[in-house]
């Protein structure tokens, strides 16, 4: 069986995610079944052995991410897929992945929370957790698909970003997109651009955490003879623990700058009719589909509305929000949570932001967005 199933498919979002991972060269999946992400694990359990990879079902999500990091350190392109409760359990090892600069992909097919919440129904309330969930300072990279096609495409991009920047990267899907079936076009393998982690060029004087000019250090794998030491403690360029203020400053600053400096090349968003928009609707994932419809209806009614759909939520595309804020009168932010990313928009839009909230459990309706747009124009 081939890793890349080139052709046109009618495919479930969760399965498209698994196929995207395989197309990206994923050869290790460590996971734990959880609704609504189980189909991704099931697909990987079926498909990985067909392409020479390994699927292992771990005892919980803590172990899943630990195994994923271990596999990555041995050279695998590794991933896991989960939902809210599992994502919460993964937070500690997300920090380990950040600080040890270990590439991997974590898919969160979001459901309603907090706690066990709504296992089978949608939510988008883990968006802030993706950036702030693990303790300490770091900069997350998170892609947010709004179609089955993007479940495929963005999973590939997530792997590429993980390899390029050497850190865990999130695909923050939601139950609606994960459990929806749509057309998915899978291109030929040669048309898929893949990135592999930077590797040390020579053994002599190699320091495992000494960055190049782009702030990213080349990565040696276990078993190559480098005798590297990798620790979750604050460490210097040798990888040795150093418990002091200076080393902490140097390490944390670099890890954050590594992403901030490259943010312009990571940012992805799509804009519809924003050029002359008085009202800019900022949305992402499932909610953005309703937002798009609301904007179209508003335009027909003569309201100058536009849509900025976030494809990467983290790092947050603040520059573009600031630019839009120069001409837009107000921002409307619909999302299936109680107003998480609207706060982020607020930071860069001088406070002119109206939130359209939804506690989870269903789709945020175009009418709700339209109503807010109309309120603003009154």
């Amino acid at each position: 069986m081939k890793a890349v199933l080139t052709g046109r498919h009618f495919m479930l979002g969760d399965i498209a995610c698994a196929e995207g991972a395989l197309a990206a060269g994923c050869d290790f999946f460590g996971g734990y079944p959880i609704t609504p992400a189980t189909e991704t694990a099931e697909r990987m359990a079926l498909r990985l052995p067909q392409v020479g990879g390994h699927y292992i079902q771990m005892e919980d999500e803590i172990a899943s991410l630990a195994a994923v990091l271990g596999a990555s350190c041995a050279g695998a392109k590794s991933m896991t897929a989960t939902s809210g409760p599992g994502f919460s359990l993964m937070q500690e090892n997300i920090g380990l992945g950040i600080v040890t600069e270990t590439p991997c992909v974590i898919v969160n097919v979001q459901r309603g929370g907090p706690s066990t919440g709504l296992p089978t129904l949608a939510g988008q309330a883990d968006m802030m957790q993706a950036q702030w969930g693990s303790h300490g300072d770091y900069e997350a990279i998170a892609y947010v698909p709004n179609s089955c096609q993007e479940m495929f495409d963005l999973t590939i991009k997530a792997f590429n970003a993980a390899e390029r920047y050497r850190q865990p990267v999130f695909v923050m899907a939601d139950e609606i997109i994960g459990h929806m079936t749509e057309r998915v076009v899978i291109p030929g393998p040669k048309k898929i651009k893949l990135v592999s982690r930077k590797r040390p060029k020579r053994k002599k004087n190699y320091l495992p955490f000494k960055p190049d000019k782009d702030l990213i250090p080349p990565m040696a794998l276990a078993g190559e003879g480098y005798a590297i030491h990798v620790t979750g403690l604050t460490h210097d360029s040798r990888g040795y623990p150093v418990i002091d203020e200076e080393t902490q400053h140097e390490m944390v600053t670099r890890l954050i700058e590594k992403i901030r400096r490259h943010a312009p090349e990571i940012w992805e968003f799509e804009e519809v009719m924003t050029e002359d928009a008085d009202i800019v609707v900022v949305s992402y994932g499932a909610a953005s589909r309703s937002a798009g419809r609301a904007v179209n209806i508003a335009r027909k009614d003569g309201i100058k509305a536009g849509l900025m759909r976030l494809i990467t939520v983290w790092p947050f595309p603040e520059k573009r929000i600031k630019e839009l804020a120069e001409s837009a009168k107000v921002f409307v932010v619909p999302e299936i949570n109680m107003g998480q990313i609207s706060r982020e928009v607020e930071r860069f839009a001088s406070g002119r932001v109206l939130s359209v909230t939804h506690a989870g459990g269903g789709m945020l309706s175009p009418e709700a967005v339209l109503q807010k747009i109309k309120e603003v124009t009154k």
Partner: protein, 290 residues
């Protein structure tokens, strides 16, 4: 690093190089462990074992969780991963499956492996992942200053059991054997030769192996429990240890007080297909591996 040792005439002399210098990270020594702690001996046994077995050093990978024992990974000059608290075993599982050529050893403490990490031990042993788990058991949480842990004996005093420990401890070799570990042994840090031989065996053994090392912790356990300082604790081991390879599960319980013996030995040595063996066998049968 210079070291003192007895020459063949029995005289003490200082040598410029220690025979294990090339296996230890010289630039990280001296280590952080307390005087009288047994971790240095445990680490030396491991260093000697990886040197003696017929597996290239570059294929040896050492992992640990958090705690005093967790620091061993930082001192041995092989690829080493100091992971999160309790999670070295699942990390090692991913590493081993992604590259089966690696000889993967998890070296960690009783609290790390059996309290916070207990579930992972259970499942890695059940799956028969081909890794070695070496547990240094000092009956307490040493790094945080001597608190009660999952192996603290009943009645023992720690900083969180001021009136004696009300909990029953785990019997680690019993647990490992019950879960299907293919090799199980226990030694104290006084049994250097036995311990090193056990490590050699474990490193070469296919499947999930487990070694428990009973280790003095003068500060966290010896002193509050009146076992004395480091040397006195070792003397206690010498007096109380009994080698009994066919010990029953009940005999393996550690009381660490009175006249109760410390039963040590090679308790289990058996064969069982590993996770990767079964994976390969079944995928081959389905024509997925040619």
């Amino acid at each position: 690093m210079s070291a003192k040792g007895a020459n063949d005439k029995g005289r003490i002399e200082t040598v410029e190089e220690h025979p294990l210098d090339h296996i230890l990270r010289q630039d990280r020594l001296p280590h952080i462990w307390c005087p009288g702690c047994g971790l240095g001996s445990a680490m030396t046994c491991y260093a000697q074992a990886i040197e003696r077995v017929d597996i290239p050093l570059k294929k040896q990978v050492l992992l640990s969780g958090i705690g005093c024992t967790g620091r061993i990974a930082g001192y041995v000059k092989v690829d080493s991963y100091h992971t999160t608290h309790g999670r070295a075993i699942p990390f090692a599982t991913g590493l081993k499956i992604a590259n089966p050529e690696l000889c993967v050893t998890v070296f960690s403490g009783d609290g790390d492996l059996f309290a916070i990490g207990g579930n992972h031990f259970l499942h890695a042993a059940r799956r028969n992942i081909d890794i070695n788990v070496i547990c240094v058991n000092n009956f307490n949480y040493g790094m945080t200053g001597g608190q009660q842990g999952p192996t603290t004996p009943v009645e023992a005093r720690t900083t969180t059991t001021r009136y004696g420990n009300f909990e029953h401890p785990l019997n680690l070799p019993h647990l490992a054997a019950a879960l299907g570990a293919v090799y199980v042994s226990r030694w104290t840090t006084l049994h250097c030769r036995h311990l090193e031989k056990s490590m050699e065996k474990a490193l070469q053994k296919r499947g999930f192996t487990f070694i428990e090392i009973i280790c003095p912790c003068p500060v966290g356990f010896g002193r509050p429990n009146k076992l004395g300082e480091g040397l006195e604790e070792l003397r206690y081991y010498r007096e109380k240890s009994v080698i009994k390879n066919d010990a029953s599960w009940d005999e393996m319980v550690l009381h660490m007080r009175g006249e109760e013996p410390i039963v040590v030995g090679d308790f289990v040595d058996t064969e069982r297909p590993t996770y990767l063996d079964l994976e390969e066998q079944m995928l081959r049968a389905k024509g997925l591996i040619k």
